[in-house]
Symmetry: none
Subunit: 189 residues, 4 copies
C-alpha cells in the first residue's frame, strides 16, 4: 500500500507544482488531485515538506536512472559517447517543459531550504563529477573542469529559458546548441 500511495501522491504533487508553483500548491490540492484525503500526506510523508522532498528526490532519480541505463546498454562506451548520452537524456523529448517548471520551482526553493539544498548539491555534484570524469579523458585538467562546469550550466540554462517562454520547448535546438558547444570544446585541441 505504502508504495502505491507514495507514487500517487508524488505524481499529484508534480501536477500541482507545475500548475500553481511550489508555494501556491496546498496539500488539499495535492490530495484532491490524487483522489485521496489531505490527512494521508502527514501519514505517509510526515508533512508537506516531506512530500516535496521525496518528490524532488524522485525527479532526480528518474533522470539519473535514465542516464545510467542508457550508458549500461552501450557496450563500448567512449567518453565522448557518455557525454552525448547525458546531453540526450537531459533533452529527451519525453521531458516536457512542465517537468522542467517543477524542477526550477524546487531549485528556487532549495536555495532557502536546507534539506532540499543538500539534495540538490548531492545531485549536482554527482552530475558534475560524472561529466568531469569523462572530460578528463579528453582534455587537460583545467580545461576539463571548465568544460564540465560549462556544459552543466548550458543544459540547465537552456531549460531555465525554455520554462519561462510560453512556446513549446525545442528539444532538438537545445541538443544542437549543446553538442556544438561540446564539439567546439574538443576541437580546440
Amino acid at each position: 500500500m505504502l508504495e502505491i500511495r507514495r507514487q500517487q501522491l508524488i505524481q499529484a504533487t508534480l501536477i500541482c507544482v507545475e500548475k500553481y508553483g511550489v508555494s501556491d500548491t496546498t496539500i488539499i490540492q495535492i490530495a484532491q488531485q490524487a483522489g485521496l484525503s489531505s490527512g494521508i500526506i502527514s501519514h505517509y510523508f510526515g508533512g508537506k515538506m516531506g512530500l516535496l522532498y521525496e518528490t524532488m528526490r524522485d525527479l532526480m532519480r528518474e533522470l539519473r536512472v535514465t542516464i545510467t541505463e542508457k550508458c549500461k546498454s552501450e557496450p563500448n562506451l567512449t567518453p565522448y559517447r557518455a557525454i552525448e548520452i547525458i546531453i540526450d537524456c537531459n533533452f529527451d523529448p519525453k521531458i516536457d517543459s512542465a517537468r522542467m517548471k517543477v524542477w526550477l520551482s524546487f531549485w528556487s526553493m532549495s536555495m532557502h531550504q536546507d534539506n532540499l539544498n543538500r539534495l540538490q548539491i548531492i545531485n549536482d555534484s554527482r552530475l558534475h563529477s560524472n561529466l568531469l570524469f569523462h572530460f578528463k579523458k579528453l582534455l587537460p585538467k583545467q580545461q576539463a573542469k571548465n568544460a564540465a562546469r560549462g556544459l552543466a550550466a548550458l543544459i540547465d540554462g537552456l531549460w531555465l529559458h525554455g520554462s519561462l517562454r510560453c512556446e513549446e520547448f525545442d528539444h532538438y535546438q537545445a541538443r544542437a546548441i549543446t553538442k556544438q558547444f561540446l564539439n567546439n570544446l574538443l576541437e580546440e585541441q
Copy 2:
C-alpha cells in the same frame, strides 16, 4: 519622499528575498529591514506584489543600464566587443551571489505570476535580440540564432548553479567559460 521610500523599500526587499526567499518574505520583515512600518508598503506600492514587481524591474533595469552605458562609452564598438561587454557586465564582480539568488527567486515566481512573467519575457527578449543583432554581423543567420540562444542560456545557467552552491561565485571562471564558448563559436567559421 516617494523616490526615497521606493529605494529604501526595494533595497530592503532585495535583502529579505535573498535571506528568506520570495515567498517566505513577509511585508513586516521588509518594513523592519527598511526601518519603516508595514503599512507603508501598501501606501507606496499598492501591496506586496507591487513591491516585488518594482523590485524585479529595478533589478533588470540595473543590468540593462550598466550594459548600455558601457557600450556607449566605447567609441568604436565592434560586434565582438559588444558581446564581450554583455558577458562582462553579467559577471561583474559587483554582482554578488545574493543578487543572483534574488534573480532566481523571481524567475521561479514568474512562472506562475502573469505580471512578473510579462516583465521577465520583455527583459529576456530584449537581451536576446540585442545578442542576436550582434551575432548576425558575425555569423550566418541560423548559427547566429543558436549562438544568441546558447550564450544567454550559458550565462544564466552559470548563475543558476552558482547561486545554489554555498561557495563564493567565481566571476572570472564564469567569464572565462563564457568567452571560450563565444570564441569557439566564431572560430568555427
Copy 3:
C-alpha cells in the same frame, strides 16, 4: 455536520449582529459565540460575506415560511384574512426587537452590497406582489397598488422606529395601527 455548523454559525451571527451591528461584528466574535474557531467560517461559507448572506436569507425565509404555513392552515382563506395573517406574522410576539435590529442592519448594508441588495429586492417584491394579489380582489387597481405599497411601508416603518427606541416593542399597538390602516382603506369604498 454541515447543516449543524451552518445553523450554529447563523445563530451566532444573529446574536453578534444584534449586539454590535453588522459592520462591527468580526468573524472572531461570531466564532467565539458559536464556540468554534474562526477558520470554520471560511470553510463553510467561503468568507464573512457568505455567512452574512446566508444569515439574511435565513431571516427572510423564516418569515416567509411562517406566513405561508399559517395561510395553508386556514381552509377558507378570504383575501382580507390573508392580509391579516401577513400583518399578524410580521408582528408576531416571538419576533423580538433584536431580530428586527438585525433586519435593519442588513437592510442598511444591502444598499451598497449588490448580492444582499438582490436578495432584499427579491424578498421585497415577493411580499409586495403577495399583498397586491389580495388587495386587487378588494379594491380597484390603482387603490390596490397604493394599499400594498402603503401597508408594506407601514409594517417596516413601525419596526424601524421600534428598533431604535430602547423600550420594549409593542406588538399589539403595531398590529392595531396596521389593521386600522387596513380597515380604513377598505371602508373607503
Copy 4:
C-alpha cells in the same frame, strides 16, 4: 474659516456615505471629495465619528427648519394643515433618494452608537410630540397616539422601501398614500 470647512466636509460626507455606505466611507475619501487633506477632519471634528455626528445633526436640522419655516409662513395654521406640511416636507421633491440612503445608513449605525442613538431619539421624539400635539386636537387621546405613531412610521417606511429599490422615488405617490392614511384616520370619527 471654521464654518466654511465644516460645511465643505459635511457636504463631502453626505456624498461619500451615499456612494459607499457609512462604514465603507474612509476619511481620505471624504477629504478628497472636499478637496482638502485628511488631517483636517481630526482638526475640526476630533475624528471620524465627530464628523458623522455633525453630519447627522445637520441632516436632521435641515428637515426640522424646513418644516418650522413653512409652518410659520402660514398665518392661520389649522392642526390638519400642520400635519399636511410635515408630510409635504418629508416628501419634498428636493429630498432625493440619495439623501434618504444617508439617513438610513445613520439610522442603522445609531442602533449601536450611543451618541448617534441619543441624537436620533431626540429627533424622533421631537417629530412625534409635534405630530401628537396636532393630532390631539383632532382625535381622542388614544387614537391620537396611534395616529402619530402610525404616520411617523408610514413616512419613514416609505423612504425605507424607496431607498432600497433602484427606481426613482415617487414623491407624489408617497404623499398620496400618506395623506390618504391621514384622511382615513380623521374620517373614522
